[in-house]
Structures are given as structure tokens and as C-alpha cells.
């Protein structure tokens, strides 16, 4: 309906629900993140704040994991990143790992190793 030459139209976006999703389990399939039906839901308050990972105060003496996700060219690039640290930052220990499964799948054993032995992790390269 036009009024004063102006039209009223409906918003094409959906309705917010106030419900937020989180992943089912550590080994649940990745699409559980994308599918709001197959994952637990919480209110924003119960879900908690979306926090960035805490930063290190320094890299000296730390162990940085370099994880090749498997996209083309990534293995050589991450190996070169490790070589850069060896040449320019010998005070930083690096561990190079290649994801055994595809870049979209979970790898709990690798995450456990990183949590146990690493201080930081760099994933590369996106494709």
C-alpha cells in the first residue's frame, strides 16, 4: 500500500530466536555446527561469551605447532614457515604436523597432543 508515495514492505530476513547453538561433541561431524537441528541449543547467557583465545606474552621458549590442513600447497608452505622460525627465531620451538584426515574432519588425537605439548598453534593454509 502506498502512502505519500512510500511503500511498506516486509523484512526478508528470518526471525531471531534468541537461541544459540554449540557443537554436540568433540567428535561430532562438522556439519553439526552448521545444522541448528542436530546440536544442543542454549540461551546466550548459558552459552557464555564468545572469547578469543588468550595471547602469549612472548614466543621465546614456547612451542608453536604448525598444522598443515591439507589444502594444496599448504604442506610446503607450512614447512617453509617452520624453516623461517628455525633460521630467524631459534628461541621458538616449532612442531610441524600434517592433518591425517581431510581439512573438514576432527582430529582429537592431534588436538590432545597440541593441548598437552604446545603453547600455540598456527593452522594453514586455507583454501
Amino acid at each position: 500500500m502506498k502512502k505519500n508515495g512510500k511503500i511498506t514492505v516486509l523484512d526478508p530476513r528470518g526471525q531471531p530466536t534468541g537461541i544459540f547453538g554449540r557443537r554436540l561433541n568433540v567428535d561430532s561431524p562438522p556439519f553439526a555446527i552448521h545444522d541448528p537441528v542436530n546440536q544442543p541449543r542454549d540461551t546466550a547467557k548459558a552459552l557464555g561469551a564468545l572469547k578469543m583465545a588468550p595471547r602469549l606474552d612472548r614466543l621465546e621458549g614456547k612451542t608453536v605447532y604448525l598444522v598443515d590442513t591439507g589444502f594444496a600447497g599448504g604442506a610446503d608452505f607450512m614447512a617453509e614457515v617452520q624453516d623461517w622460525f628455525t633460521r630467524h627465531r631459534p628461541d621458538v620451538k616449532t612442531e610441524l604436523r600434517h592433518k591425517k584426515t581431510s581439512m573438514f574432519t576432527d582430529e582429537p588425537e592431534l588436538w590432545a597432543e597440541i593441548k598437552k605439548n604446545g603453547d600455540a598453534v598456527v593452522f594453514g593454509v586455507g583454501g
Partner: protein
């Protein structure tokens, strides 16, 4: 970066990020050590606010301003839309028996992790925007009910195909014959467009957030929306092969990358030999392929070559298409996405990984993942070969204006119209 020397890779590492102009290695180290925005994160949990009431109506404005608003807000495919006034949406809602408040789909907003719901009314807004009519709405609702986006966040150029089977095709005047994929038919155009518009409004087309395709794919404008030419096909309709009855109306979705339009017919080689040439250029993920053939091709395969069913021909292709193992494994997306299956010992991939590069393998090892669809107007026995995989089907009938089994007063609703003559 593929195949570059260590020296070349090192230049990428110490060189500048093309987006920020800063050395890449400095950015890597800064991300690990510098607080975000130079401030330490507050240790306590930030307060959350109650979700705001949904905004249903936009601020009134002129038609020109609203067209610009929709485009600038990223709610369109770049083309002008039919503005979704309350009157138009109300008319659209008459195309379904579902309640306007029934939730059809939900999507997950990555930025906020919030679940957003899409009711029948929400989808009606999209259908109006696409230029659809109420009779198209049940098909559009069926597409929405799959909860699948037509757009993928990959840096590659995914394409999609939306196939319609059953009586609804003729009831709403879909084109299944000559020029079926050409931009000449309202139903084919608006239904396919509606799927992309809802995907866009669901948030799947925000460049550098959810849209990363380096080149994009033009087929997404209407997702190759088409009806199968069931009346002229010598084989069973696609949806029947998936367990639906012939008199059920169903949509099916296919998705992949490679698309080959046959420039000529199988005049000097058999179709299988032609497909061997074309499909080996697109090594398959999970043995998937979708062949869209003109009714003339299907008739020749059945009457002259003895393939009584689609499945017979799929088995033939599965056995006859061969490629060297090295060609298969050295294909970028196969190496990235399938090699891990070999590592996990999954057959046949594990065995294929062990053979010499020049040994022939049959990459379409599972005939059940080869899909056959019959579309076209019988002016030439042509086909389209794709690596598209089948991504599911959904009922249209549950969304009709009159529920299945309920006749309208004069008894004519639900009966197929006379097939359109496109000559």
C-alpha cells in the same frame, strides 16, 4: 603456492599481506602474542542482552529507495526484485495450506552463533521477491525445507541443479522440453531464483564472511531449475528411483563443480566412450556424476543399445569408465578430499593408492552414485555431463494449497494441466 621453490615460498612469508600491506610473518607472530585491539580481554563474562523482537516491516520508502536498500543490504542477487508488500505476501500465502507461522527452516548465523528461523511467511517474502506466483510457492517451500543453501562458502565455484518431478511440473507450467535450461520460462526461472535469494538472505552470500568463491558460478542465478521430461522419457522418473511414487511431486538437489555441455552428438563414438572422455576430465568425489540427457539419447540407449533401465546404463558406465591412478590422485581436489579415505583404509581408495600411476582404475565404482535425468526437447540427441552428486529430495505435496487427498470444490485442483507446447 603449489610447486613453488622454498625461496619463492619464503618470499610469501616475509613479504606483505596483500590485504593489509604488512609482512605475513609479523602478522602471524602478532596474532600469537598481541592482545586483540591492543586491549586485554575482560576476565568476566560480558553481559548478554535478550533477543530483540523480530522486525517484520521495514521503514516505508519509495520504490527506488527500497530497491536500492535491498541491494545495498545484500538481500538480492543484483537484479531488481519484486518488493514484498504485505498484500503481495498475503496473496503468496494462499499458495500453501501451511500456516504462515509454521517454521520451515532454520539457519545458523556464524557471526553470532544464533539460530534464525524462517517461517512460511518468511519464505513467502522471498518468493515474492523472486517474482514467483502462488502456484510456485509449494515448490519453493519444499526447497526451503531441505535447509540447504544454494551457495557454498568454498573458495571453489560450486554449482547446483534443482530438479522437479511429478504432476506439479505441468500444473505450474514448468519447462521440461526444448530450451528447458534456457531463460524462457517463468516457473523455472523464479523457483530457481527464489532458492538463491533465500540463501542470500540466510546469510550465505556475504563476501569474505560466508562467500569466498574466488570466481563464483553463474549457474547459481537460478540453479539450473528444471522439470524432468517424464512424459518423453523411456525410463522411470528420477524421483521414482529414489523411492517416491510417480504421482508424488518432489524436488531433488544436486551439487558439484564440473559441468560439460556436449557440443555434438555421439555420432562416431558410443555415448559411453564420449562420457569416458568427458567424465575422466572431472575425476569424481565418491563416484558421483549426474548425466542430464535429451529424451532422444535415452531412447537410443534403451531401444538400440539394450539398456532397459537407468540402472543398467549406470552399471555400464561404472564398469567402462577408466583412468590412470596417477591422473586420479594428482587431481587437486581428489588429493585434498579423498586421499584421507585411503589413509584410513577405506576401499577402494586404499587399494588405488598402492597401484602404479599408470594402472587403470574405475573411478565411478559405485553405479548407485551415478544419476540419470532426462530433460530436453528432442531436437538433437545431446547431453550434459557433470560431477554433481545427489544431495537429497523433498516432498512438494505437503506444501500444496490443498493437502493431498483433499479435492477443491470443482474437483479440478491437483490435476495436471495439458503439457505446454513450446514449439
Amino acid at each position: 603456492m603449489i610447486g613453488l621453490s622454498p625461496e619463492a615460498l619464503d618470499r610469501y612469508i616475509v613479504g606483505n599481506d596483500p590485504d593489509t600491506g604488512k609482512p605475513v610473518i609479523d602478522e602471524i607472530i602478532n596474532v600469537l602474542t598481541k592482545p586483540v585491539n591492543g586491549k586485554k580481554m575482560a576476565p568476566e563474562t560480558p553481559k548478554t542482552e535478550k533477543a530483540k523482537s523480530p522486525q517484520v516491516l521495514l521503514e516505508p520508502d519509495t520504490e527506488d529507495n527500497l530497491q536500492r536498500l535491498f541491494y545495498e543490504r545484500g538481500w538480492t542477487d543484483g537484479l531488481p526484485i519484486i518488493l514484498p508488500t504485505e498484500e503481495r505476501v498475503k496473496k503468496m500465502l494462499a499458495g500453501t495450506c501451511a500456516s504462515p507461522d509454521d517454521v520451515v527452516a532454520e539457519s545458523f548465523q556464524f557471526a553470532t552463533r544464533e539460530v534464525v528461523k524462517y517461517s512460511v511467511s518468511s519464505i513467502a517474502v522471498i518468493a515474492v521477491m523472486a517474482g514467483a506466483r502462488p502456484e510456485h510457492f509449494p515448490v519453493i517451500l519444499a526447497v526451503a525445507s531441505t535447509k540447504q543453501s544454494s551457495l557454498m562458502p568454498s573458495t571453489t565455484a560450486f554449482g547446483t541443479m534443482l530438479l522437479v518431478n511429478g504432476p506439479i511440473r505441468n500444473e505450474i507450467g514448468m519447462n521440461c522440453g526444448i530450451g528447458a535450461f534456457s531463460p524462457v520460462n517463468l516457473a523455472n526461472s523464479v523457483i530457481g531464483r527464489a532458492w538463491t535469494l533465500m540463501s542470500i538472505c540466510w546469510g550465505f552470500a556475504k563476501p569474505r564472511q560466508t562467500l569466498w568463491s574466488s570466481q563464483g558460478n553463474n549457474l547459481i542465478y537460478n540453479n539450473m531449475c528444471v522439470g524432468e521430461n517424464e512424459e518423453r522419457s523411456v525410463w522411470e522418473p528420477f524421483h521414482v528411483g529414489k523411492g517416491f511414487r510417480a504421482d508424488e511431486s518432489v524436488i531433488s538437489i544436486f551439487r558439484g563443480w564440473g559441468f560439460f555441455n556436449s557440443p555434438g552428438t555421439a555420432a562416431h563414438r558410443s555415448l559411453a566412450e564420449e562420457l569416458n572422455i568427458q567424465l575422466t576430465a572431472m575425476p569424481p568425489m565418491n563416484s558421483a556424476a549426474t548425466i542430464i540427457m535429451d529424451p532422444l539419447v535415452a531412447r537410443n540407449l534403451k531401444e538400440n543399445e539394450g539398456f532397459n533401465t537407468k540402472q543398467d546404463y549406470c552399471r555400464h558406465l561404472s564398469q567402462s569408465i577408466k583412468m590412470p591412478a596417477g591422473q586420479y590422485w594428482n587431481t587437486d581436489h581428489i588429493d585434498m578430499l579423498v586421499a584421507s579415505q585411503a589413509y584410513k583404509g577405506i576401499e577402494p581408495y586404499a587399494s588405488w593408492k598402492k597401484v602404479p600411476d599408470d594402472e587403470l582404475i574405475a573411478p565411478y565404482y559405485n553405479p548407485d552414485n551415478i544419476n540419470m535425468v532426462v530433460v530436453g526437447g528432442e531436437t538433437s540427441p545431446l547431453w550434459k555431463a557433470t560431477d554433481y552428486g545427489y544431495s537429497g529430495s523433498a516432498s512438494v505435496d505437503k506444501w500444496r494449497a490443498h493437502p493431498a487427498g483433499v479435492e477443491c470444490k470443482d474437483g479440478t485442483c491437483g490435476l495436471p494441466d495439458k503439457p505446454a507446447d513450446y514449439d
